[in-house]
Symmetry: C2
Subunit: 392 residues, 2 copies
């Protein structure tokens, strides 16, 4: 397990309050010592969980103090009571921290449709806030897990204005992963001083290229949330589009996001392989998206990968029903660097060579439609019996 080093100004803690079995951590808090500039993106699922609705109402502000998160219960499809419970989580956290409830963001993940046991949550919040520390990132990372088999954390540093800027990322996610605008739960913390509007623009763009480009099962969740918080304690001049260091900061931010996103796919429910599917040469951006999503989410394609099977016919089939414009005899497919399909038919690469590729725990599938210059990439995983076992 990687230890995550929190940027200056942040404290975190994860505790067990009785939502998950076996005494595992199930409630966590991240708090900033002062006000943090924040940005957030949420699921586009029209059935949004109560905490997502609450957080959306927080977006009129540009700063926050803390985020409180529970796992084991999604607080989704819980109606008015769910909203009150999310609000109460913010209030309890705010009271213990000595701030306003409007300064607290709330996240939940787990089973849909059950009311939260608020007595346990309330007790958990008290314990977590008592336990807050600069070294509490690891326990927080554990507290947000559901069917994940490991914590997902990243720490990087970048120099800006002669200062060491630290960024840390903590995420969860394993199933119900096909984010559209955001993904499961992810928190990106930095001690940089960052202009709020700039941070929001950065997060929106980066999310499109990272968290929104992964899929485990094509099921977009009700609770997807990515929150970025900047404590501003690193001593740099406030970052905005004009700042000469913004390029370096943006690259570090995107690096953290992409690494978290890939960790989620790697730990996809039952997944054994990380597969990067790229479509290029599509007639339009929309076509590239349709084609890449059809392949990366096809049960048959994913099951073939689980078996380490070359089975490119299933890829061709998915391209064919994707709705994307396609001329069969122009299609080219490569597994890593090896031609699999040329001119819509089997290439001459020996099957043994291709089998070696698809038996790896990570490989790429590159599809060239030869119809235009639009492209798209998705990071996906294989579909194993274990996925069904976990979810049945």
């Amino acid at each position: 397990m990687t230890e995550v080093i929190l940027p200056q100004g942040f404290m975190a803690c994860g505790v067990h309050c009785g939502l998950k079995r076996g005494g595992r951590e199930d409630l966590g808090v991240i708090a900033c010592r002062g006000s943090a500039v924040f940005a957030a993106v949420f699921t586009t699922n029209r059935v949004a969980a109560a905490p997502v609705k609450l957080n959306r109402s927080r977006m009129v502000r540009s700063t926050c103090r803390a985020v409180v998160v529970n796992s084991g219960n999604a607080n989704a499809c819980t109606g008015e009571r769910g909203l009150q419970d999310a609000q109460r989580m913010a209030e309890l956290t705010a009271r213990a921290l000595g701030c306003e409830p409007e300064e607290v963001l709330v996240c939940s993940t787990g089973v849909i449709g059950r009311p939260l046991p608020m007595d346990r949550i309330a007790a958990g919040i008290g314990t977590a806030i008592n336990g807050l520390s600069a070294g509490g990132g690891a326990s927080f990372a554990r507290a947000i897990l559901t069917t994940d088999t490991c914590t997902k954390t990243v720490s990087v540093t970048v120099e800006i204005d002669g200062r060491q800027i630290r960024l840390a990322g903590i995420a969860k996610g394993a199933g119900m992963i096909a984010p559209r605008m955001a993904t499961m739960l992810a928190y990106i913390l930095t001690d940089a001083a960052v202009q709020a509007a700039y941070l929001r623009g950065l997060l929106a763009g980066v999310t499109q290229r990272t968290f929104n480009r992964i899929t485990v099962d094509g099921d977009c969740s009700t609770n997807d949330t990515v929150i970025a918080m900047a404590s501003g304690t690193a001593g740099n001049r406030e970052l905005s589009g004009d700042h000469p260091g913004s390029g370096a900061f943006a690259r570090a931010f995107e690096d953290v996001s992409r690494r978290l996103a890939l960790m989620i796919v790697r730990d996809g429910e039952g997944a054994q392989k990380l597969v990067t599917v790229t479509v290029k040469g599509a007639a339009s951006a929309e076509d590239a998206e349709k084609a890449v999503r059809a392949v990366a989410e096809s049960m048959l394609v994913k099951a073939a990968w689980a078996g380490g099977r070359v089975n490119w016919g299933r890829v061709m089939d998915a391209l064919g029903y994707s709705g994307a414009r396609l001329e069969e005899d122009r299609v080219e497919i490569r597994y890593d660097d090896h031609p699999v399909v040329t001119g819509g038919r089997a290439a001459e690469t020996p099957v043994a060579v291709l089998q070696e590729v698809v038996r790896q725990d990570s490989f790429t599938v590159t599809i060239d439609m030869h119809l235009g210059d639009h492209g798209a990439t998705l990071y996906t995983c294989d579909l194993t019996e274990e996925y069904v076992r976990i979810n049945r």
Copy 2:
């Protein structure tokens, strides 16, 4: 195994020619003693198999004599050679029957991307045509199977113009099932005299309500084909829209089609349950379709059914990301007749009662969006470890 009684004028045979292991039948022929009026619908997959392309060129005619089918090899993504092979299958069949190649339809099903072993196919066609008989429906039904665990046949009779009209249906399908305009392979034979244009209109409409309403894995195949053939030997006055018996014939035709379609879902790869998902009260027909397809094809929803789990949260989640207009607090869901969700939240039906429903081998999920009067139904199945095992 049900014996299928072929309508007058038809003969069939299935033989083993060496495409499938274990000596199982893998090549079949249905032939009409004279010219049969025919109708056909094909996959809308833009990657269409060679025989589909060949059959499309036959649609300028209104009659045919025979259909030749092989399993074990889809003859898809096989380029110019695949087209020549399909053409050759028609020629060999025509020569043996003493008709023109243009009077023969061709179908293939199985692995994509491998050339057909034409020597075996040629030998098989000869054997099959020598073996043609009025009692050969059962061996033909076996010859078209792939991962199917059973043959799929239906026979019905209906009285028109004082004559006994017979209809028979023979189908295959178990995986790569999400037809859009047609489905895997199905043959509907009748001895009625039917006007060609009327038969084509009837097949198109019935397909929309039957074969196109099933899904096993959301993967629409390259080879989907439904062919209807009418020998005209029953002695009735030619059926068209004006004929008073056309209603009874259309009902029988739809009955045969629906029963075949449901047999395919029932025998879906690894499937244990047949689930009928209905959306009503949608704001538009397009919304109803999006909503019903999202639910019926969600890996998570289908895995929950495999486990006999109530898990309505996954149904709500799928509705939410389907793209259909939705107001969460208006949604109602029933499992069979039991309320599961009312006003977007858990209904008061005891979990034990709902569990009893979802543990059955067949049940219905009815979703009312309460936003309009549009609806849609899909017949689907659960997702089991066995599906992955078959396809990995």
